[in-house]
């Protein structure tokens, strides 16, 4: 290549980069099955990318670029494994099987045909990669970084920008994560149906949800990589749903994400301030995503077993999504769903949300009973929403002096300037009414 890039070279590189983003997870997964080590698998996949960058600008992007990359990486993997003494015997078998296939075919389109025929294997490998990257032996941020890197196709720099940390930090996390997996002897496989698999799957879903929430919490002034995390999480969720179509909680999570994402445009006001659900302009809710969310929820419901926590949360989100105006909201149904959620994943925050729903469905008196039961909850001691909700319910009951006390307390607990202003305003109003 010459010193200055011609436009053709730049276009070729961008096209190859796009192919890489689309195909890299599968290539890494396919190689990982052979070499049984994520670090080595990623390196070999990168080697294939380098080969593509060297050859494709001349020869053009092949008709089936994914198969080309996979074949190239797998050939190197096989060579590597052949050379390793540790795998000598397994290897020889492996080498024999693949060797006889190869002697009948040539590298390139024939191998591609064989790969295409073995599509089921690619999906199995991809699922193994998902489960391995999200292994509970890894710290949460390690799982997140590894997943976004190996499955999301994000660069280290992009992950760093998205999570507001330094690039070397992310690079270290990924290196250490791979080492931890190797040292712990984590096997490149998906556990059989049972308790371990449920646990491992929960870990995968947790990672995806975490990535989504990180993106969802981004504010208007942030780097666009941050809200972009919502798209990344959604895509990962959808991929997982395609790989595990019979797992209801996967569909439940996807449904929840689709519906939450549908509100993205309505969630922030003109100066970037957050807008509450009940105050959002619902015309700005993305109906395509809402439909997709309902479809995913229907798939979850059609599968056997009682709804899990994600499906229930999705059902709650769906209740809101169905209401054209806040007054149309089916609060009794939401209250029922929170009852179910509280049984599945009891927590003070869930209980507080349940109190709000019960108040909307059955009157502030009922809601207040539930909130009062939370009064001493240590987890909520510094949680400004507890006194906020209590104040709101008291105001609705005409107990304005008490409401004012709660709003003042809430204002002291929140770190958000704008929120504090709003709460103090409500306190003042309650003061006037009492």
């Amino acid at each position: 290549m010459t010193g200055s890039d011609s436009r053709g070279d730049q276009d070729a590189r961008r096209a190859i980069d796009a192919v890489w983003r689309i195909e890299s997870a599968r290539v890494i997964a396919g190689v990982a099955r052979i070499v049984r080590d994520l670090g080595i698998a990623e390196e070999l996949a990168q080697d294939a990318l380098v080969a593509a960058l060297e050859q494709w600008p001349e020869s053009g992007v092949p008709d089936n670029p994914g198969a080309w990359l996979m074949a190239t990486a797998k050939h190197r993997a096989i060579d590597l494994v052949r050379r390793k003494e540790r795998y000598a015997r397994k290897l020889e078998e492996l080498g024999h099987q693949l060797e006889s296939q190869e002697s009948r075919q040539s590298h390139g389109s024939d191998f591609a045909a064989a790969e295409a025929a073995a599509d089921g294997d690619i999906e199995d490998d991809l699922l193994r990669l998902v489960f391995t990257a999200c292994h509970p032996v890894l710290a949460t941020e390690a799982r997140v970084a590894l997943t976004l890197r190996l499955l999301g196709g994000l660069t280290t720099a992009e992950i760093a920008r998205a999570f507001l940390v330094g690039e070397p930090t992310v690079a270290q996390r990924i290196v250490r994560a791979k080492k931890t997996l190797a040292k712990a002897g984590v096997r490149f496989e998906v556990p059989e149906e049972g308790a371990e698999r449920r646990e491992r799957l929960a870990s995968v879903l947790e990672v995806i949800y975490l990535v989504f929430n990180e993106g969802y919490s981004a504010t208007a002034g942030d780097d666009w990589m941050r809200p972009g995390l919502c798209e990344d999480a959604l895509r990962l969720g959808r991929v997982l749903a395609g790989l595990m179509p019979r797992e209801p909680e996967v569909h439940g999570l996807v449904a929840l994400l689709e519906i939450q994402a549908s509100r993205a445009a309505a969630r922030t006001g003109p100066s970037g301030e957050p807008v509450l659900l009940t105050d959002q302009d619902r015309r700005r809710w993305d109906q395509l995503l809402i439909r997709r969310g309902f479809a995913a929820l229907a798939r979850a419901d059609a599968l056997p077993g009682r709804p899990g926590p994600y499906a229930v949360q999705a059902a709650i989100a769906a209740c809101h999504a169905r209401a054209f105006t806040p007054d149309d909201t089916d609060w009794p149904r939401i209250a029922e769903l929170y009852d179910a959620l509280a049984r599945l994943v009891p927590s003070p925050v869930v209980e507080l949300n349940r109190a709000v729903a019960v108040a909307m469905a059955h009157g502030p008196e009922q809601g207040l009973k539930l909130v009062d039961a939370l009064g001493d909850e240590p987890a909520l001691r510094r949680y400004h929403l507890l006194p906020t909700v209590r104040g709101d319910l008291l105001a609705r009951l005409g107990r304005h002096a008490e409401a004012r006390t709660e709003f003042v307390r809430a204002a002291a607990l929140t770190r958000n300037e704008r929120e504090r202003g709003l709460l103090l305003a409500r306190a003042a109003e309650a003061g006037r009414n009492s």
Binding site: A18, I22, W224, E231, L236, R238, V239, L243
Partner: protein, 120 residues
């Protein structure tokens, strides 16, 4: 980022009998692949222009015209709504859609980004 891919074709270029069974099968496979990749949000073919209707608003005057529309031979045969991280990715997926049409087709996909929340 979302992209609409508008499938445009000249009526003289439509092969006899339209898309054959192999093409339909390949399209089905690609649609499944793109759906599973979390990339394809929506796609559909559009019924022929003979069945279509155009409504024109010309500064206060509404006119309604039934198809076929003879002034141009090019028509929109269908669309795909793609979610991609970059235009280059959208281009790559769209080229895969076009490649499966093989030697018998002369067909164009116009990729247009969909207006959306501005993250910049």
């Amino acid at each position: 980022m979302r992209y609409m891919s508008l499938i445009r074709i000249n009526e003289d270029n439509v092969p006899e009998g339209g898309p054959g069974p192999e093409l339909m099968e390949e399209m089905g496979k690609l649609i499944e692949e793109m759906t599973k990749a979390g990339v394809l949000l929506d796609t559909a073919g559009l019924r022929p222009t003979e069945e279509g209707t155009r409504l024109r608003w010309n500064r206060g005057e509404l006119s309604v015209t039934d198809g076929p529309f003879t002034e141009t031979k090019e028509f929109i045969g269908g669309y795909a709504l793609i979610e991609a991280k970059s235009k280059d990715e959208a281009i790559e997926w769209t080229s895969r859609f076009l490649r499966i049409h093989g030697e018998a087709w002369d067909i164009t996909c116009e990729l247009r980004q969909v207006e959306g929340p501005d993250f910049d």
